[in-house]
Amino acid sequence: MLNPKNWINFYADYLLNYAYFRVRNRELAEDLIQERFISALKSQHTYNGTANEKTWLTAILKNKIIDYYRSSLSKQSKITDSINGNTNNDFFNTETSFHWFEKKQPQDWNNTEKSIESAEFNAALANCMQKMPEKLAVVFSLKYIDDEATETICKEVGITSSNYWVMIHRAKLQLRECLEKNWFIK
């Protein structure tokens, strides 16, 4: 059973965090959850009772976020330019048959006291996620936070599978580098 009287109390904070982690803009996250509560209310009849209330609300919010991603991605024509081949050459030197640029090479983290297990690491990770360009963050979060199938992501976001790999590749190169600079080796 749905109980809209309790929605705000029970789920507003949870959904705000959920949206913020994905769109990385507080104002936008708040707008999205507001819109979602209203439209959830209007689509109550689609609730079939199999999922719990929280899961159901999260699923509607997720669809809204994907809509937002899609419209924001289609506005950025540069995306297709940057995912057509030449990307990631800022990490690898075309003149030395794609060896790492020296300043881009991963450093050994073993000599540092910093651990991935600490609570502060999560803050560093969140910061690095914020620094990721939006189009990458979108694809990366769908995969790594929402655990969506690659095919689904490509379909939802409207990219080809080879675009997907270029984006994941880039996201990981950037995220690793950012964590190294902002956490492991400051």
């Binding site: 809209p4 009287k5 929605w7 705000i8 109390n9 507003a12 904070d13 949870y14 705000l16 965090n17 913020y20 982690f21 507080r26 996250a29 708040e30 959850i33 507001q34 509560f37 209203i38 209310l41 209007k42 990631n88 050459n89 990490f91 690898f92 048959s97 794609f98 060896h99 790492w100 090479q105 991963p106 450093q107 050994d108 983290w109 991935i116 690491f121 999560n122 990770l125 969140a126 995969k143 790594y144 936070i145 655990d147 690659t150 790999w165 994941i168 590749h169 990981k172 190169l173 995220l175 690793r176 964590l179 190294e180």
Partner: protein, 91 residues
Amino acid sequence: MTEKKDLLITCKEATLLICKNQEKAITLKEKIKLKAHLLVCRVCDLFNIQSNLIHQHYTKMNAENIETYSLKLDATKKEALQHHLDIELEK
């Protein structure tokens, strides 16, 4: 000879294959090429170890359902939103 040459991949290709390997989207042939590269390339080997570490962290975070942010919606905004919902409910 050509087969031997086929085994050689660049660091750019190797790191892409590392990403594919993490998502189990790698072919056997690619896996062999990657292994061969990692044996001789310490930098890519480090990238492999570190990005696996990050990958595992995400998996763990998802499994334990950790909230990475702990934002709260303002009480006044909650009230306004609740009010809005109440009006809609009465319709």
